[in-house]
Amino acid sequence: MTHFLTFLGRLHPLIVHLPIGFILLGLLLQWYNRKQDMHLDKAISIAFLWAGISAVAACITGLLLYTHEGFAYDTVKLHLWFGIITAVCSFIYYVRISHIAFHKTPVIIFSILILIVISATGHFGGNITHGSDYLTEPLPPSVKRIIGIETQEGNEIALNEEELDDAILYSDIIQPILDNKCVSCHGPKKSKGELALHTPEAIQKGGENGAVIDLKTPDSSAIYHRLILPVDHEDHMPPKEKTPLTKHEIALIKVWIEHEANFDKSIGQLQLDHELFTSFFKNENSSELPPVSVATVSKDVISNLKKSTAFGIQPVSKSTSFLEVSCLNFPDFKDADLNTLKPFFKNIVSINLRGTQVSDDIFNSLIKLPNLQTLKLDNTQVSGAGIGSLQKLEYLRTISVTNTNFEAASLKDLALLENLEKVYIFNTPAAQSPQENTDITFTINYGNYTLPIIATDTIIY
């Protein structure tokens, strides 16, 4: 019987469209008939009679859906009550049209009322299936802010490696994992299998099959066991079509249960291996750019400059205001040309001057680019005289000067640059005499790799 009722409940999305159709038809006929000259009263009353009947059918299937699919009352209450009001209003309208006695009340009031009620019912129903932000989601953030919708970013779990020991295992990691992957079906809105996982109390309470955590045999705890079943298994969680937990997340859930599913202790107190958490560390991607904020350069400024010069200028990525400059199509670049970039010196994190007419004077101009991280001067005439002045650039990490006249003396000047990580000096005078220099904290790539000829190079089998 339950199966059949569940099935009936699932007809709800189909049946709800009947009262909508009948009501709109009735209202439309009523509008044509507004001067009482088309004698449509009979048809209108039939339309609303059927609107009422189908609305009752929709209410019944809706109730079945609600009781059999684990929806929470709070989620469905508005839709439920508005649905019932729709059914009632339809019958009232029917009575108003078909019984002469009521003809004195202006029909327009009923019409407006029922239109509002049916719209609201439909909207709240849509919110249940598609989420309450479904309708407004495609709007641009600026419009959303005006109509008062909070714009949320994804709940990415980002841990800080240094403060890892102080993080609470449950509230900083386990609950966010559950929030991201489980709570949409097992939470305050829906609690399938009578299970909710959004608070410690709810987790301890368990679901219709009892407790989900088994401290004696952690491996058989439902909250863990169902994660590791084969994906095709009926009991596997989350269901096939939802985002599965990563293996790191699953491993942590297990560790948490093994530590008595403790809700308060920190990672340090539990003495957990930091290896377990490495996949949750903050994405290094974003921190690779200088930790300062710079004003975004308008697209027009960039595209105008690109039209008038041969500079290649583009943002590092769509989400930052830092820029990369390339002279790949600008072989005639001379030191003075750098000044055309003046409006956004602060934005430049990478400059590629490979194969240009650049000279050693460029170093005096480059110090105006405070956020520069990468400098490419390969295949040019620079000798590196004056490169020491780049010590003002605190974010400069990589310099490549291969195939240039770069001198060994200039290499020493680079020792002043504190955050320098890599220097490429292949095929330069500096590379001829590799020196041991203890002051240098960065890696020097001298290049000049060879692959000596060996016997097997010439044997043909």
Partner: protein
């Protein structure tokens, strides 16, 4: 006059009478069909913006389709060099060391491996074939590399191995298409096209996606493996020859001056522009762009494709063969192209189909020759990129379209004179090197005989997702609308292989 009027009236009446319900419905169908069709066509045409009343709205991108675009996320690499060993190299003689297989050499393959499986050529119960190469642990990471690749040990610490890649196609053509377009059937854009579409190309005088082939043949799947599918055709790979003129007819014919050429192209383009204004076919724009690109390429291509100007020690390192079409020449060209800002360089080397049907396809003879042909060039390419600081911005990918069986091939159920291996889709080796890749990593493990993956199984889609990730894309959000729905390189699959990322 009255009579004529009456006649007309009657005619109209008759006409109305002949309009039956059947006619009405028939007309409706045609009308509805038209509406439906127009919406279908509309979905193919990105140039009409119906909000602006069907007016042509061309973006800067349409006029300059290879203009650079910022990736959605900060990228690790800017360019890709993809080395494809067409025919599928034997992982068991190159990177996947299986000492147990040696002990089982010449024993019949256990039935459990063969049950319910289809092979391209193996019939009945084949014998296991032990690894024909000796292996050593090389570099600081201690990854196993075979003696077939003696130079490779010098760069082994730069690469991250994927030991358990799988595919679902066991024939060359579909498998190559799958490896390069994410679908075994024709019609999808290749990965190089996706990348050039998404990022454009830095050098305005060179194509963004260059293809070089060696080994005497094009890949079995034909040129579709570098095709642009439903993307505008300006993003398809441009095949250059490494012998003779890099591009056919790149030199102006005798008596044709560069100025005259320019005027000719301008005239053709103005006619094409008129055509475009009338019919708005985006392919016309592609044609205009290609003409202009070809004109600029006439100067830039011979320069970049000329490897003779490279110093001798570089040519020696790669093992360049002057005036020949060779994989070594192509590797050197790949470095030069990437240095010049080309976005995607695709190398195909043919001749890796080691079935053991003759000398050249024997895993203990011909395969050794193929390994020698690529060992020095690939090692040189990685070292050369590294010493120029280019490896930080470049991703090098190596692989075939599938792997080879631990069993000896027995075509038609007969024992073969040479030692060979059949096509194998379950587990094979690929590797990546360059920016954002964990140096010396090895991910994935196969069973004792190298037949199935035990852990770290990754699919072709996962490889694609990882390549796109390194270029600054989320593969799930990088889409192109075609025929009314967004398409992805990875379709509905793919996970970034975080284990090999730095």
């Amino acid at each position: 006059m009255d009579n004529t009027e009456r006649l007309i009236q009657e005619k109209i009446k008759r006409e109305i009478e002949t309009q039956t319900r059947r006619h009405f419905i028939k007309d409706c169908v045609a009308g509805m069909g038209g509406i439906a069709l127009s919406s279908l066509f509309f979905s193919c045409n990105s140039f009409f913006d119906n909000k602006k009343g069907g007016k042509l709205s061309l973006t800067e991108r349409d006029l300059n389709p290879l203009a650079t675009l910022a990736p959605p996320f900060p990228p690790k690499v800017k360019s890709v060099i993809y080395l494809h060993m067409a025919g599928a190299p034997s992982q068991l003689e190159m990177f996947d060391y299986k000492p147990e297989l040696q002990k089982l050499h010449n024993q019949s393959c256990p039935e459990s491996f063969l049950e319910g499986r289809k092979f391209a050529f193996i019939r009945g119960v084949p014998k296991l074939l032990g690894p024909q190469a000796k292996f050593n642990q090389v570099g600081e990471a201690g990854n196993w590399v075979s003696e077939y690749l003696p130079h490779f040990k010098k760069v082994a610490d730069e690469v991250a191995f994927l030991k358990a890649v799988n595919t679902d196609q066991f024939n060359h053509g579909p498998a190559q298409l799958f490896m390069h377009t994410g679908s075994p059937r024709l019609g999808r854009p290749s990965i190089g096209s996706w990348v050039t579409y998404g990022l454009g190309s830095e050098n305005q005088n060179l194509p963004g996606f260059v293809v070089l082939t060696s080994g005497g043949k094009n890949p079995s799947a034909g040129k579709s493996v570098w095709g642009s599918g439903f993307l505008p055709s300006v993003y398809q790979g441009v095949q250059c020859r490494s012998k003779g003129d890099p591009v056919l007819y790149i030199d102006d014919p005798k008596g044709m001056s560069r100025g005259l050429k320019k005027r000719t192209i301008d005239a053709i383009n103005s006619i094409n522009k008129e055509e475009f204004d009338n019919y708005s076919d985006p392919e016309t724009l592609a044609r205009i762009n290609q003409y202009e690109m070809a004109y600029r390429m006439q100067i830039a291509v011979p320069e970049v494709m000329n490897i003779n100007n490279e110093p001798d020690y570089i040519k020696e390192m790669y093992g360049v063969e002057k005036g020949k079409e060779s994989f070594a020449n192509n590797c050197l060209l790949a470095r030069k192209l990437v240095e010049k800002g080309v976005r995607f360089v695709q190398l195909f080397d043919w001749g890796w189909d080691s079935h053991g049907t003759d000398h050249s396809t024997a895993v203990d003879l011909g395969l050794k020759n193929k390994c020698r042909e690529i060992d020095r060039p690939i090692s040189a390419l990685i070292l050369d990129l590294k010493q120029r600081g280019l490896l930080d911005d470049t991703l090098v990918v190596w692989g075939g379209e599938f792997g080879r069986t631990p069993m000896q091939e027995n075509r038609e159920g007969k024992e073969q004179g040479y030692k060979g291996r059949d096509h194998h889709v379950d587990a094979f080796t690929m590797w990546m090197a360059g920016g954002g890749v964990k140096k010396g990593a090895s991910w994935g493990k196969t069973d004792e005989i190298g037949f199935s993956a035990l852990e770290g199984q990754v699919s072709v889609h996962d490889v694609h997702a990882t390549i796109l990730h390194l270029l600054g894309f989320n593969h799930e959000q990088f889409t192109y609308d075609f025929q009314g729905r967004p398409f992805r390189l990875t379709d509905v699959h793919g996970h970034v292989i975080k284990e090999i990322l730095a």
